[in-house]
């Protein structure tokens, strides 16, 4: 069983997303620790990419700031290695196919394994293209996370059957970013997934408030929040860790409440 499953072992999971190096790697380390101490079950670590086509303006901004601060894939691996000395919850990278391809997929997965990264999400790598990275990811014990979208329909069974780690259920059409309401029938999507696999489902895109996280987690196995955390970083910069910690605490308590 992959380490990622442990994130879903204690009730509903809360999964924060952080772009590594926004505004610098020291701050990222503090935020990861604050999130872990305040109840995050798994942390999505973004490796910045110059042209993040699945992201809305908020996370695009985080990518730009991180790259401007000189963050590279190698520096992110160093950060994870350092964090792994005391942070035990699963880490999942979130980046774009070219970052992995350019690094050499095998070398990338080997370093994930060595540094203690449990999985990877590549939003521009659909089912049809996953073989390119799936075999080598498996070889190094890294779960390649599958995504399911409101438009997936007849594709859900096929995707779910080959999923590992957890399934990232995209809540809405469009790119990442806060939304006032989520109109997709999430329980229908999750039900279709569950007919085909027992891999847990976490819902992301558009969740920013405790009540949204609670509602989404109720329909699935967990909630993922990115842009709302990046906004805290935008506001407080290198002083953001305690504020992110507080936010994670509120969100976690919302997702586990009845």
């Amino acid at each position: 069983m992959s380490n990622i499953r442990s994130a879903f072992a204690n009730g509903k999971a809360f999964i924060p997303f952080i772009t590594c190096g926004d505004p610098n790697l020291e701050t990222t380390a503090k935020i990861v620790r604050a999130a872990a101490e305040n109840g995050a079950d798994l942390i999505e670590l973004g490796i910045p990419f110059s042209d993040p086509t699945a992201e809305g303006p908020v996370i695009q901004g985080a990518n730009i700031r991180a790259l401007a601060a000189g963050v590279t894939t190698d520096k992110v691996f160093e950060l994870v290695k350092e964090l792994r000395k005391d942070v035990k919850i699963p880490f999942v990278f979130m980046t774009y196919a070219n970052v992995v391809y350019s690094y050499d997929a095998e070398r990338f997965m080997a370093r994930c394994c060595e540094a203690g990264v449990d999985g990877i999400i590549l939003p521009d790598l659909p089912y049809e293209e996953k073989n390119e990275f799936a075999d080598v990811a498996k070889q190094y014990g890294v779960d390649l996370i599958s995504m399911i979208a409101p438009t997936s329909e007849d594709r859900i069974a096929m995707i779910a059957k080959e999923a590992s780690g957890f399934i990232y259920v995209v809540s809405s059409l469009g790119v990442t970013g806060e939304r006032s309401e989520i109109t997709t029938n999430i329980s229908e999507l999750v039900e279709l997934v569950r007919k085909n696999t027992n891999v847990p489902c976490a819902v992301g895109f558009g969740i920013s408030k405790p009540e949204q996280a609670k509602a989404m987690a109720k329909l699935s196995d967990g909630a993922i929040v990115g842009s709302a955390i990046i906004k805290i970083l935008e506001k407080y910069g290198s002083e953001a860790a305690p504020y992110v910690g507080q936010f994670v605490k509120e969100m976690k308590s919302a997702v586990v409440s009845d």
Partner: protein
């Protein structure tokens, strides 16, 4: 390892968010159906001939030939098409296809504005809504085309992210498509992006070489020795090459925008300076750093200012069937002025890259040799920018 659909050698594929997968699958199915549908083809031919003005001329440029003193030069005059460039060939095809699919709204990216203008034109004609994404930098370089698009009823959205040029306009159009798929077709302007776009756009642009091959056989009784076209994403080039690919004696030469030179960082010459990568839905050559971050490319030509190249070009390069040569800003501007003076034809600054290489190549060839150069668009839109390049400030 099994290769996915839409491959050109190792290049191509479908590297896009799951949200868009059913949309591209639906597009592929519709295209596979309509490309063989006689009614669809009749309608498209009618539009191409009686609206866009095809077939375009294959013009024997005697004066240019005489002055350069070598191979005989023919110009494939895509600049004479309605809307002023080759872009209309693809747009009419895609807009008609989208209409058949029940879509009511077209979105598009544009660099120089030519594709945006063509899309806005087709949308006006076919009663469709139109939104064009254009890098903010390009809206300044090509202000006239922004006005034309708005005049045609399109919304033009200036894109401020990244380098605010063509690549960012593509990214933004893709983002828009993921948020509104049901009624919207993404009318991609070049032979790039995820499958099936590189194939669809190539097929619609292949009309260029279907005509020019027949026209040169008619005029000269033989095939040309070389075909030259400019390459950004590469749609006019693949259209110019396509029907000559099986003719091994015909050299196929794509001219990339070298900007200030391929030994500088201010270049957009992807095949000459890039590496294989994955971006904008496809595997191909891209200008990028050692960590795969896409490079902020540069060219005087907004239409060639793109860090990638279509996957079929990448493949033609890999197998040695086509050559890709770099042309600098200086060379292109000289060619822009030279063709205007010698033949009375003002080419688009994009097309001037192809003219520039013909100016180098023709004098090295015997007089009994033949070159076809595609003039992909007309240069009216570029006059103000070229004047600025020469230190003259004119109001458009």
């Amino acid at each position: 390892m099994s290769e996915s659909k839409g491959r050109f050698g190792v290049h191509g594929g479908q590297y896009i968010p799951e949200t868009l997968m059913n949309a591209v699958i639906e597009l592929e199915k519709a295209y596979d159906h309509y490309k063989n549908d006689p009614d669809f083809n009749r309608e498209l031919t009618e539009l191409l001939n009686n609206y866009a003005g095809r077939p375009s001329l294959l013009y024997r440029a005697d004066k240019l030939t005489r002055e350069l003193g070598g191979a005989k030069i023919y110009l494939k005059r895509e600049d004479l098409n309605h809307t002023g460039s080759h872009k209309i060939n693809n747009v009419l095809g895609q807009a008609l296809l989208a209409k058949k699919m029940g879509k009511t709204r077209l979105i598009a990216e544009t660099g120089a504005g030519q594709h945006g203008v063509a899309t806005a034109t087709a949308a006006a004609l076919l009663d469709m809504e139109c939104v064009v994404f254009m890098g903010e930098e390009d809206t300044k370089r090509q202000a006239l085309n922004v006005y034309r698009m708005r005049l045609l009823g399109a919304d033009v959205i200036p894109v401020k992210s990244g380098t605010a040029t063509l690549k960012d306009a593509v990214s933004e159009a893709m983002r828009e498509w993921t948020s509104r798929i049901a009624d919207t077709h993404y009318c991609l302007g070049s032979v790039m992006g995820p499958h099936p776009f590189p194939t669809i756009v190539r097929d619609f642009q292949a009309v260029i070489s279907r005509e020019s091959r027949a026209q040169i056989l008619e005029a000269e009784g033989r095939l040309p020795d070389a075909v030259i076209a400019c390459v950004g994403g590469g749609s006019n080039a693949i259209g110019s090459f396509y029907h000559f690919i099986p003719d091994e004696g015909v050299r196929l030469i794509g001219c990339e925008a070298a900007g200030r030179g391929i030994d500088t960082f201010e270049t957009a010459a992807t095949v000459n300076t890039g590496r294989i990568g994955i971006f904008h839905g496809m595997k191909s050559y891209f200008c990028q750093d050692e960590y795969g971050q896409i490079a902020p490319v540069y060219s005087i030509s907004a239409g060639l200012d793109y860090p990638g190249v279509g996957p079929e070009h990448a493949y033609l390069h890999d197998i040695g069937r086509a050559e890709y040569v770099p042309i600098t800003d200086d060379e292109a501007v000289n060619a822009f002025e030279y063709l205007s003076r010698t033949e009375g034809i003002i080419p688009a600054i994009e097309s001037a890259h192809a003219i520039a290489y013909a100016m180098k190549l023709a004098p090295t060839m015997d007089k009994d040799k033949i070159i076809i150069v595609t003039v992909s668009g007309r240069g009216d839109k570029d006059c103000a920018a070229i004047a600025r390049y020469r230190g003259e400030d004119i109001h458009e």
